[in-house]
Amino acid sequence: MARSDDPGSAGRIDQTGTEIRDDLPPAELLARAGAEATGVIESWPSQPREAAIKTIQRYGAPDAVMPSRLIWTDKTPWRRVVVNRDVVPHDFPKPHNDLLEEWISYRIPSERLDDVARFDGSVIAERTKGELGARCDKEEMNYLALNLAHDVIVGALDVDAARRAYTEKAGAFMMGKSDPYTEALQFPVPPNGSGDRDVPTINAQEVRQ
């Protein structure tokens, strides 16, 4: 997959500095992504296959290829991007299939997780690892979910207001209207190291004994 250091060609650069190769036909993209990814997604259902092609357009060849998933690592702002072959039906705010997972570094206050789960069941928190992820069918909806999850976590919105905002912004996006919440993360993403190790409850002497 061509990146900006490919002397033979160049795509457009989006606001995050990522080179987007939407000028290339899918066949060319797949060839650049390597035979391995190509071979895997050829047998996938159409929706995850198309999501894989879109993600290759955006982030280049995946860093890891498995029969059930493609994985990209450290693609700003994401720590990890995963396209899954197996989809998860989700009806909020409209029926769709969750298949694109995107994770950021994020310190999770555990006491806010009831509200986060009520807001959107496809936002996933990993406290020890220090990651917050969203799984939807489009990157724009993952931006929206994480931006609003952050608003819920910091107390800027309650659950009902966040669900209303998601509904309105997702509807507007489907009608072709842009919104900062669907275009990029609207809060500073902490560097890696947001994990919460917790505390030992068995003391060292007990462990040695």
Binding site: M66, P67, F92, P93, K94, E111, T128, P200
Partner: protein, 192 residues
Amino acid sequence: MTVATITEQTVEELTSTWPTTSRESAQTVMRSYGPPDEACEELLLWVGHGPWKHTILWRDEIPHDFPTPHHDVLQQFIDYRVPPDAYAPLAWFDGSVVVERTKGELSARCEGEEMNFLAINLSHDLATGKVDADEARRQYTEIAKAFQAGHPSPYTQGLQFDVQHGGTADRDEITIPETILHKLGEKLGITE
């Protein structure tokens, strides 16, 4: 890379450069469940072995100090629907327990399967109101301490409740009516 036919030997080669805990854990899991069903440089994946829906062995180790300092590498999943008010207590009980509401899955990530059994069993006790988060942490500490001293508990040897297979996913509800989407799409000439 992907591994077309995965054998214990190919896993040994694949994990030869992995950190110690994840490399050794790969060997331990293979002794129970055989070679993984899928593998790449970052993880090994077993599907449907033992009581687990799937098992992931991660290359990258996550430091975790509860109840003693160790590295989380082995994540194991079951189908489970967590009540809406139990997400925060579960995260407080053990930050390595992960809940996925839409998918209807509960997982634990620790160094070995026994501690995952323990975390999931106590998560079930917490989700069903048998214990609160503080009591779950106390019990985790005591049972883990006994396990390290060579006294395993039923809670470290297997899941102590009936695990559902399917029917735990939560699709949530539609908040954008299809009729409105359809009408707007037609008006704007947009096909969704």
